[in-house]
């Protein structure tokens, strides 16, 4: 597997596409700015959301119990899974009881995290992703590159090709309206025929035992209301205490995500419809481990809006796949080491620590600080690549010895002035895509000493 830097290098080979990706996501970020500034209470809402999540995480056990008991009273079957494997087994066991060739699934980052599609496909179940972007990447045997805009790494020509191959649309047709219509017709058949629908969960309300699912396309509802069985999969951190708290989160979610006022559909599922079976699978998969860590607990506040993706100068120019994780971007980079430190050691370093992610986060997660905490943690565990730990040690040595520091500065200036080829070559990663600066004649220290 390529690490983040290597995968990014591939992504940016196509300069035109990289620029498009960068500018398109920045446009989404600008839309977020515009709608958020229309609300005078925006900052107060962020603070409120953050405080509600603080409170919920401090009392998570109590709220999970309350939710379970209310959901059961509502006639929903509640399941608990300690990890991804168990989550997948539970889902399969429910499906097996009801049969059917295909199931329809709307977007759920949790099922991506658990690799549910792979698991079910291996067991002979056809999973049909119904979100347009997810269906596109599923056809292409890829994974989403963005949690809100799954196919943002693709151009309409790519989608046209894919639909020509899988849906028989005319070759060369790349009109988004036409292609969306083709997907609508294609997926309607599956909606009408599926026995089982899987959805994610945006918020679960302890007070009422209901859960809320937000989409723009209406695919979660089309699936859930037509199927005999509805399975909703959620991480245990999706809990909120009261129904009135939803007002705060629904005001923040779509505005932060896409700059919309609210998603087209914000559906509140409390009870199964007559004759329907409704299941909820509550999944830990490392969340209680993260809950125990003071410096990383806040990451569990995330409502998956992806504002931090859209604003991140690294994400915008490296693409979601370079993060090799279901949740990419800055938030993904602080969630991933919790799953597997050594496999994700590169991700907390895939950042400039500029802090823009923390500034746009609707629940005020200190993302850039946590990136920095993870760097320290991973270095202490000896997981950093040799080059990085050696250069850090070298720098520490130089910076703590004033004489050597002065010498090194002097040598550096000398080399850059008289033998620039020593630094201006491909062995120096700073020379890639950039000119080295002109060396100053003297150091700041000597200028300071000699000033009149």
């Amino acid at each position: 597997m390529l690490n983040h830097a290597e995968a990014s290098e591939k992504f940016i080979e196509d300069a035109e596409r990289t620029t498009w990706h960068d500018e398109t996501l920045w446009f989404v970020r600008s839309k977020r700015d515009k709608v958020s500034k229309l609300l005078p209470e925006w900052e107060a809402l962020r603070e409120q959301a953050s405080l509600i999540k603080d409170h919920t995480l401090a009392n998570l056990g109590q709220y999970l119990e309350e939710f379970e008991s209310n959901a059961q009273k509502n006639g929903i079957k509640v399941h608990w899974a300690k990890d991804a494997q168990e989550h997948n087994e539970i889902v399969l066991s429910i499906i097996s009881k009801h049969g059917g060739k295909a199931l329809v699934k709307s977007k759920s980052m949790l099922t991506e995290e658990c690799h549910l599609n792979d698991y079910l496909t291996k067991k002979g179940v056809e999973v049909v992703d119904t979100d347009l972007g997810e269906r596109i990447v599923q056809f292409r045997n890829e994974v989403p590159s963005h949690i809100v805009l799954p196919a943002i790494h693709l151009k309409k020509e790519d989608v046209g090709e894919t639909f020509h191959e899988f849906l028989g649309t005319p070759k060369g047709n790349k009109d988004p309206q036409f292609l969306t219509e083709a997907a609508r017709q294609h997926l309607r058949g599956y909606f009408l025929g599926a026995n089982v629908a899987i959805t994610g969960v945006n918020f679960a309300v302890a007070e009422t035992g209901e859960f809320v699912v937000c989409t723009n396309e209406g695919n979660a509802d089309m699936g859930a209301h037509l199927a005999k069985v509805h399975i909703a999969c959620m991480g245990i951190e999706k809990m909120i205490p009261k129904r009135k708290d939803l007002g705060v989160f629904l005001r923040l979610l779509a505005r932060s995500a896409t700059g919309q006022l609210i998603t087209t559909y914000s559906s509140h599922f409390a009870k199964p419809r007559e004759g329907q079976e409704m299941h909820i699978v509550l999944v830990d998969n490392g969340r209680t481990r993260q809950l125990a860590r003071d410096e990383f607990r806040n990451s569990l506040k995330c409502i998956r809006c992806a504002a931090c993706f859209n604003t991140c100068p690294v994400y915008r120019r490296s693409g979601g796949h370079s993060y090799h994780q279901p949740v990419a971007g800055p938030i993904g980079s602080i969630l991933a080491p919790n799953f597997d430190k050594s496999a994700n050691v590169d991700l907390p370093f895939a950042s400039t620590l500029c802090g823009s992610c923390s500034n746009v986060c609707p629940v005020k997660i200190n993302i850039h600080e946590q990136l920095w905490f993870w760097r320290q943690d991973l270095m202490k565990d000896g997981l950093a690549p040799l080059g990085k730990s050696l250069s850090m040690k070298g720098m520490a040595f130089v910076f703590s010895n004033p004489t050597i520091f002065k010498m090194a500065g002097y040598m550096g200036r000398l080399v850059m002035r008289f033998a620039p080829f020593i630094v201006n070559n491909s062995l120096n990663p700073w020379f890639k895509q950039r000119e080295m600066p002109e060396a100053p004649k003297e150091s700041f220290q000597s200028w300071y000493k000699n000033r009149k």
Binding site: T24, F27, P40, E41, A44, L45, Q48, L51, I52, D54, H55, G61, L64, E65, W80, E86, D131, L132, L149, P150, A151, L154, V159, P176, Q177, L179, T180, E181, R184, E210, N216, E217, G218, N219, D221, M222, H225, I236, K242, R243, K244, L246, G247, R251, L261, I262, T263, T264, Y265, S266, S267, H268, A270, K271, R273, L282, D284, T288, L291, A292
Partner: protein, 182 residues
């Protein structure tokens, strides 16, 4: 040990932290003209707004918007056992609207079927002008104690921008949404 007790065990093992709920959010006094703002939000989310003097005028406007299509009410759908998939235009009642985002609260008590507002080709929702609230906070205040088995905020027609961020109306749900203010 079951996974349930394992998860609860892990949570209970943590040090107890006392953090209070911040209480209900008080929205800032926002707008005087909720209906005007509501209309503005409707245009942002891509819904058509019909502000009619009376039922007759509303019907005329709807025939202009959907000239060649048959329109059915919730009641007709139920009593005639119509196939929902075949319905071109469905007319339903919304409980109230929210001016900040153009959303309308629908509850399954007033729907012929939960899937109805999604599966029809075009959707028409009637909502009273006197039932427009400013923000979602007021909306949940209004819903306090009224727990529908299924309910939703619906704002605008079904849409997607998953292909190169080009906005396309009519993804899986209704291709158009008309709000009739009465």
């Amino acid at each position: 040990m079951s996974s349930r007790s394992e998860i609860f065990g892990a949570i209970q093992a943590l040090e107890k932290r006392e953090i209070d709920h911040p209480g209900d959010f008080k929205s800032y006094k926002a707008t005087q003209d909720v209906v005007g703002d509501f209309k503005n939000s409707l245009s942002i989310v891509g819904a058509i707004c019909v502000d009619a003097e009376n039922k007759q005028e509303a019907a005329t406007r709807l025939s202009e918007i959907y000239p060649d299509l048959l329109r059915y009410t919730s009641h007709e759908v139920v009593s005639n056992g119509l196939d929902l998939e075949a319905i071109d235009v469905l007319e339903i009642d919304g409980m109230f609207g929210v001016s900040e985002n153009g959303a309308i609260w629908l509850s399954d008590q007033f729907l012929p079927n939960r899937v109805a507002p999604f599966i029809c080709q075009h959707l028409v929702i009637y909502v009273a002008k006197s039932e427009i609230l400013a923000t979602l906070h007021e909306a949940y205040e209004r819903l306090d104690g009224n727990y529908a088995d299924f309910g939703l905020f619906l704002s605008g027609p079904s849409k997607t921008a998953d292909i190169e961020q080009s906005l396309v109306i009519g993804a899986h749900g209704a291709r158009s949404l008309t709000i009739v203010l009465v």
